[in-house]
């Protein structure tokens, strides 16, 4: 009972902590240069990085289930190109938006089956998928960018109530995923499979089916991220964004998702993604080299994992 309470406080604490750090960052950078807090800059911080927060939702599910996915960056790159090709080749725009979700789910269902049924460790299966997707993308596109996107395709540039659509996607999908994880049998089975696979099996939860479902959902969410990524500008870069998977994994982990599985929430990963975006912007406002962003991310991930392990030793 006590461990469960401190456990709940532990994860909630991470979210509160992230909010405090984000607010502190805003306050300090804003006091150095008030323009940092302009509505314009806050909007750009959210909009330019919402796709990372969205992808981190799926990644959190995967990590909570006790797995990892290093192919998500490549998947987003491939799905963005497919979406762009559909749009520029005269297919309806709704299809160009929907296809990445479906294809992402299909591709990751395959990955999930490899992990769940063929017992390939997730790091290996997704590493293989990373090579296949990124190699295939370069061979297929020859590095050519996709331009000449039709009018109305730029979903990420739409606004509702003067708030850009990526922000709505980020908020909406975070809430949806949080509800799914908290109030459904599926959500509970993901935590169960990730925290203690044997016990989950004994209580009748299908480990394999849960993992496949998690990967399928993760793929579909990756598809949404890919559409947000593809529709932000008027050209789509046909190469895999360097290091994107690491940023997404880092957001999940710093958001409080335990790399050992079984613990974490999607609110945390979204907050962590926002924090990284804010740090990236503040580095420019403070005239600090962008290389520090990577260093800071590295330190944050190390600190979070060390703290997580220390807590496990203490409570477990």
């Amino acid at each position: 009972m006590r461990s469960r309470l401190s456990h709940t406080l532990g994860t909630l604490g991470q979210e509160i902590l992230l909010v405090v750090v984000i607010l502190a960052l805003f306050a300090v950078v804003g006091s150095v240069n008030a323009r940092f807090l302009s509505q314009h800059n806050l909007t750009s911080i959210f909009v330019g990085n919402a796709y990372i927060a969205v992808a981190a939702i799926g990644m959190s599910l995967v990590i909570i289930s006790g797995n990892i996915d290093v192919s998500i960056g490549a998947l987003i790159g491939v799905l963005a190109v497919i979406s762009g090709l559909l749009a520029t080749n005269g297919y309806p725009i709704w299809l160009a938006w929907l296809a990445p979700l479906v294809l992402g789910a299909l591709i990751n269902t395959l990955v999930g089956c490899l992990i769940a049924y063929a017992k390939v460790p997730s790091i290996i299966a997704t590493l293989a998928m990373l090579s296949i997707l990124s190699g295939g993308l370069i061979t297929f596109t020859g590095g050519r960018w996709i331009s000449g996107l039709p009018a109305g395709y730029q979903l990420a540039q739409f606004r509702l109530l003067d708030v850009p659509s990526p922000v709505w996607f980020m908020i909406g999908m975070t809430i949806l995923a949080a509800l799914l994880m908290r109030y459904t049998a599926f959500g509970r089975s993901v935590y169960a499979v990730g925290s203690n696979a044997e016990a989950a099996r004994a209580s009748g939860i299908s480990h394999a089916a849960t993992v496949v479902k998690v990967f399928a959902i993760h793929g579909a969410i990756g598809g949404v991220a890919a559409v947000l990524f593809a529709t932000q500008l008027q050209v789509i870069q046909s190469t895999v964004p360097v290091g994107l998977e690491l940023v997404i994994i880092t957001a999940s982990v710093v958001g409080g998702v335990s790399i050992l599985g079984g613990v974490g929430t999607v609110f945390g990963s979204t907050l962590a993604a926002i924090l990284f975006a804010a740090i990236g912007s503040s580095l420019i406002f403070l005239n600090v080299s962008a290389y520090w962003l990577r260093a800071v991310q590295g330190v944050l991930i190390l600190a979070t994992v060390l703290a997580d392990m220390a807590r496990r030793r203490r409570t477990g």
């Binding site: 990085n49 590095g143 870069q237 403070l286």
Partner: protein, 368 residues
């Protein structure tokens, strides 16, 4: 414990010095510079001693019909399609050169080597190449020289002794002059600008930034440099960085210099999405296709690159004269058809000229 650590981290992050004085533009390489004259022709630098290779026992090709193969980094892309069209134009004008383009469908050095090897075996008079890797391509090019084949590079060079001549599309000081003159023309002599580059250590970009600083101090001393930000070669990151520059400097920012073909269109997009067309200029290196949406909508005025058609044209003109023996080590210029006299630079390179500024008037004539 965790909270403490993260709090410490946050604190250490926030106490980073807010600003530090900068004498040199950030992102430059600090190497010596050779800024061009502010206006008019700059005296051509001494080419120096020839350091290219020589074909072994090449047959006398003077005035004879020659068969030339062009092996670019890859085929099927607009960039090399346009160099090919320039080659065909020169071949047609000369009448004595048969040139064909063949090569890998992806920029792969191993495949490129195989193509060159096959053409050495099948027998050609001349090989034109744009190397995927300067070192890895050298042995097969030397093999071509040993077989008596004339070898001329363009766009991307190999080690100098593995070929005879290289047609260089632009020198760093030429890029610098084109960029800064265009920027001053668009934002005025006293405007403030920031730079979006790939990384501070990328050799080409760092060289260009140093040359740009030297040329600006000499020719546009009142232009105000704000800062350089890094954006790797990442589209979305470039957009976010340009966006942040706009947010940070507000009305003070009059121009953004894009140092890569990724950063320039992304900066243009940021300007357009912020409704700052005409208020913030974007000047930079980019492929015309990527800039067409912004230039055709009058948001951005120009994009800077070399004329790829001219590059291919010059490569064939140089090849003809190398085969004829009329371009020899020690020459200071070479005649290149409609392009006139091109200077010899860097020991064994032919300089195409100054970079081309594409505007709404002609950008739609190019497809790459």
């Amino acid at each position: 414990m965790k909270r403490l650590m993260t709090a410490l981290l946050g604190a250490s992050l926030l106490t980073t010095p807010a600003a530090f004085a900068q004498s040199a533009w950030t992102g430059g390489d600090g190497q010596p510079t050779t800024p061009l004259a502010c206006s008019g022709e700059s005296p051509a630098p001494e080419p120096g001693e020839y350091n290219g290779g020589t074909p072994t026992n090449a047959p006398d090709r003077k005035g004879k019909d020659i068969k030339v193969v062009d092996i670019p980094k890859l085929v099927g892309v607009g960039y090399f399609a346009s160099t090919s069209s320039g080659m065909a134009e020169a071949a047609k004008e000369l009448g004595s050169v048969a040139v064909s383009t063949d090569g890998p469908t992806r920029a792969n050095i191993d495949e490129q080597i195989t193509f060159i090897d096959n053409y050495i075996t099948s027998g050609v008079d001349g090989i034109l190449y744009a190397a995927n890797d300067p070192v890895a391509i050298a042995p097969v090019l030397k093999k071509a020289l040993d077989a008596g084949i004339n070898v001329v590079g363009y766009d991307a060079d190999a080690q100098a002794d593995a070929r005879q001549w290289f047609v260089n599309q632009a020198l760093p000081n030429g890029v610098a002059k084109a960029m800064m003159d265009q920027l001053a023309k668009e934002i005025g002599e006293e405007g403030s600008f920031a730079i979006v580059t790939s990384t501070f250590t990328t050799p080409n970009q760092a060289r260009w930034i140093s040359e740009m600083q030297a040329y600006t101090e000499k020719c546009h001393p009142k232009l105000k440099f704000l800062e350089t930000v890094e954006a790797q070669e990442d589209n979305i990151l470039s957009f976010n960085q340009a966006q942040t520059l706009i947010n940070k400097y507000g009305d003070e920012l009059k121009g953004i210099l894009g140092m890569t073909s990724v950063a320039t269109p992304a900066a243009a997009e940021a300007v357009q999405q912020n409704g700052l067309c005409g208020k913030v200029s974007v000047v930079g290196l980019a492929l015309p296709n990527a800039m067409k949406p912004y230039i055709n909508s009058d948001c951005i005025q120009s994009t800077i690159l070399w004329n790829t058609v001219d590059l291919g044209y010059a490569a064939v003109e140089v090849m003809r004269q190398v085969a004829d023996g009329t371009l020899k080590p020690g020459d200071k210029t070479v005649k290149a058809g409609r392009l006139g006299e091109l200077p010899i630079v860097n020991q064994s390179q032919v300089l195409l000229g100054q970079p081309k500024i594409f505007t709404k008037a002609d950008i739609n004539d190019f497809d790459f």
